[in-house]
């Protein structure tokens, strides 16, 4: 099935080459092929491809002998897993209670407007994915913006503009 074209409509995504030796290294060497570590394996695979490619998920299902539907269930349950390709940078705005009260809603709107993408979507040039997360557990420094696992505490429009200017300059 790995030869079929991607079916997502919003973004044109290039076919992903799956490196099965790398998958084997993650699944068998790093986690001993133990199905209890399935979520960790999925996270490791996502770190490599920036999303969970269908072929990689199928391979994982075969190796750890967990039905594909179960992995799909887990992948769709957690917002941190994506089955669609992501941009080069992933910008997550926390919309938890504390961040919401400190104006994260306006920040999401600002990025949406400037980059022309709705939350959860990726720009056409595959540079940026905008996400909203429910709580990153750093309410004391709200509002929080996370770019590629780096946290920006007490973020504001200026911080975001800075980031987007750098992105445009790239």
């Amino acid at each position: 099935m790995s030869g079929t074209a991607c079916q997502c409509q919003e973004i044109e995504c290039a076919e992903v080459e799956i490196d099965y030796t790398l998958l084997d290294k993650i699944i068998r060497d790093d986690y001993g092929g133990n199905r209890e570590a399935m979520i960790m394996m999925m996270q490791a695979i996502q770190r490599v491809y920036r999303f969970l490619p269908e072929a990689a998920v199928k391979y994982l299902s075969q190796v750890i002998e967990v039905p594909l539907t179960k992995i799909y269930e887990v992948a769709t349950f957690y917002a941190s897993f994506s089955l669609e390709p992501k941009g080069k940078y992933i910008l997550s705005v926390c919309t938890g209670t504390a961040c919401h009260l400190r104006g994260s809603g306006g920040m999401v709107e600002h990025i949406s407007k400037r980059m022309g993408i709705a939350p959860g979507k990726t720009t056409a040039d595959m540079k940026l994915t905008l996400e909203t997360v429910n709580c990153v557990g750093a309410c004391a420094v709200a509002p929080v913006v996370v770019v590629d696992e780096k946290y920006y505490p007490k973020a504001d429009i200026a911080t975001l503009n800075d980031f987007m200017d750098r992105l445009d300059a790239e």
Binding site: T69, Y78, L83
Partner: protein, 272 residues
């Protein structure tokens, strides 16, 4: 085993330790409406229709009867104004999802539901999870509940027709709102979910009459789940109808040929 003293709707009864309220109620012919319960599957408390009131100790609380195990002496109320009030809301919400279910329509009349209250979604599926639990019990490889919260829905992996379905039809048979369809066309069995083909299973062709039949279920997956690996897959080449007919011819020949009954029979007697 410890016996519990339960007051069920004002009547003193005894229950076994760990027995669920639903089991106890059924034992005593007390009706509790359910959509997602099946005696063959583990309770999942998805439809919430079986909500009852339990008083264990001081405070009354609402619990789902299907998966609430009784562990202490308690009082259970299955039909009071409070319980009916809560259940009415649940029925209204379910009716908004699936207005065509006769069972829900009956309940809606019984509970005097306001059907204008929630805008109809016409989603058809009530997300009871029976099909996914049945699928899991059989092979666990075709249907699952994808998404989370309000976005939860029954789906196949990657929204594509499953390669692993054995075409047993358990999901079709168990659906309480009859929203999964199955049809045998063009030599394949199709399971249709939300109007989309969820799986295609090739049906074998009878070598005797040429009709498609089956599916011949490959028990390999089932045996693997049971910890058995060495069962050869069944290999039927003749449909059950021809198999029976061929056997009848064979037996007939053996016992009645001497009387000249089979003189001009053109059939090849291959018993399947």
């Amino acid at each position: 085993m410890k016996v519990l003293n339960i007051v069920l709707n004002g009547k003193a009864v005894t229950a076994k330790m760990g027995q669920t309220i639903l089991e106890l109620a059924r034992e005593h012919n007390v009706f509790i409406p359910t959509l997602c319960d099946s005696p063959a599957l583990e309770a999942a408390a998805m439809c919430r229709l079986c909500t009852v009131q339990v008083i264990e100790g001081k405070w009354p609380k609402f619990v789902t009867a299907c998966n609430f195990p009784l562990r202490r002496d308690a009082e259970v109320v299955t039909d009071s104004p409070e319980v009916r009030h809560g259940r009415k809301l649940i029925i209204e919400l379910l009716m908004a999802r699936c207005p065509t279910s006769p069972e829900l329509q009956r309940l809606a009349v019984d509970y005097g539901c306001d059907l204008e209250r929630f805008a109809p979604l016409n989603d058809d599926c009530v997300v009871c999870g029976l099909c996914t639990r049945a699928c899991e019990a059989v092979t666990g490889r075709t249907l699952s509940l994808a998404g989370r919260g309000v976005a939860i829905h029954v789906d196949t992996a990657f929204q594509k027709a499953s390669e692993y379905c054995i075409g047993c039809g358990a999901c079709v048979q168990i659906c309480p709102v009859n929203k999964i369809a199955m049809e045998d066309v063009d030599g394949e069995r199709r399971i249709i979910l939300h109007g989309k083909i969820a799986s295609r299973v090739k049906l074998p062709q009878c070598t005797s009459c040429g009709k498609h039949f089956g599916p011949v279920i490959d028990l390999q997956q089932v045996m693997e789940r049971m910890g058995e690996h060495k069962i050869p897959p069944p290999n039927a080449s003749v449909c059950p109808e021809c198999s029976r007919r061929n056997l009848a011819i064979k037996l007939g020949k053996r016992y009645f040929e001497q009387y000249g009954v089979f003189e001009d029979e053109e059939g090849q007697a291959n018993a399947g």
